[in-house]
């Protein structure tokens, strides 16, 4: 039996060609085109997905390295009828213009909220220990791996900050 990668709860066989990146596997092999290819070099974050609960650049890893892993893509986060809290906040705050970077932004921010909940420090954190104070500065640092060529950053930060602060109350 072939090794499998579980994507949004469904198991798929690992591709035979070892050159296939996890990103190309998602888009071309199993037809989940929500995850976007921007730079294909780990610089833009458009391809961000969540693997075993951790956000990574799917362009810089081989599908063959992920058999047995569980991947969550934008298709597994929300639907038009039932968007996640972050997706609602992006709509409310107009956190995009063209929308190309948005799946990566949402996947990245979804995992980032878990990192904040676990009080992982960032380069912007005053202290390495204790609770992280949520701020625009923290969110900008933590989201620096996701570029938005339309420059919707102010609204993206506002959307994420609202959900992050809500999670704390």
């Amino acid at each position: 039996m072939a090794d499998t990668i579980t994507v949004n709860g469904t198991a798929h066989p690992v591709p035979e060609d070892p050159r296939v990146s996890l990103l190309d596997f998602l888009r071309h092999h199993i037809g989940l085109t929500g995850t976007k290819k921007g730079c294909d070099h780990g610089q833009c974050g458009a391809c961000t997905v969540i693997v075993n609960g951790i956000r990574i650049n799917s362009c810089l890893t081989l599908a063959a390295m992920h058999d047995g892993d569980s991947v969550t893509t934008i298709e597994g986060i929300g639907t038009p009828d039932d968007p996640s809290a972050l997706q609602r906040a992006f709509l409310e705050h107009d956190g995009f213009q063209c929308g190309y970077c948005t799946p990566g932004q949402i996947c990245s921010a979804t995992a980032m909220l878990e990192e904040l909940a676990a009080d992982w420090p960032s380069d912007a954190s005053e202290s390495l220990e204790g609770r992280i104070a949520i701020s625009g500065e923290e969110i900008r640092e933590r989201m620096s791996g996701n570029l938005c060529r339309c420059g919707a950053y102010a609204n993206i930060v506002a959307a994420i900050e609202e959900v992050a602060a809500g999670g704390r109350s």
Binding site: P18, R19, S21, D40, H41, G42, G45, T48, I54, R55, I56, N57, L60, T61, L62, A64, M65, S108, M112, E115, A118, W120, P121, S122, D123, S125, L128, E129, R140, E141, R142, S144, G145
Partner: protein, 327 residues
Amino acid sequence: MRPFQYTRAPSLTEASNLTAGEDALAIAGGTNLLDLMKLQVETPGQLADINRLGFADIEATDDGGLRLGALATNTDTAVHPRVRSDYPVLSRAILAGATQQLRNKATNGGNLCQRTRCFYFTNIDQPCNKREPGSGCGAIDGIAKLHAILGTSNQCIATYPGDMAVALSALGAAVEISGEKGERSVPVRDFHLLPGDTPWIENVLEAGEIITGIVLPAPVGGTQIYRKVRERSSYAFALVSVAAIIELADGKFSRADLAFGGLAHKPWFDPRIGECLLGQPPSAALFEKAADILLEDARGYGENDFKIPLTRRTLHAVLAQVTGDAA
């Protein structure tokens, strides 16, 4: 990407066997290697996936230190409670590099082995003695803003780009290596090499050798700082960085372990800096003297001339910060 044979190494011994060949490379996180394979800077015929070999734990050593598994991710390491409390300069250095997505995938062993970001190295249409021995160095008379000012050769002026290893150098950590001939331990300060006439040899790893861990000595305390100067406030390589572990006793330096990033083909550690500072009370004149020693043999290549005064000022700023602006 050129075709290659992918093998998941079933054991450390097998990983050594697989990577002993000239055409073979080990892959762990892959964030740097796959990038270079897409650019055809790296074209291995054989790729040995070592991700499932275990050694991902972070655990205390018998003498009170900490052993970081080579396959622990940069994130695992930076957020580990003992790294945060006992080796804050290491957490800070890791968090100052790359992005969260990359740190989540990149491993400690791979981080040590990452290649330079020299534009001539990563562009296969350009000359580069590191990538293609004998083809020349485009950077020496070319675009050299990120390039080295210390320990360069007429073959190569590339820098080692990482942050983590700079902190490890200041901390006096050691790299644990396993190979066909057995196991050995190499101080981080001796792990990376200067370019000399063989810029393609970047560290002491021999064919078939795999990094299994990094050992931190028992915590030394002190004030620990990682100061990174870069062109953007996030996700940019260091122009200059300083990892500093400083302690004062009776108003004089009783510990001064400093290492520098962005200056050379390796994290730069010069024992004369500590010797200059130890036993002396902090003063602006003393800081200048330390900078004079550090930069004694510094040489700019046009675009990176600014790094010489920038390094002086950054060292001065770190020492002034730690000593409460005593100077």
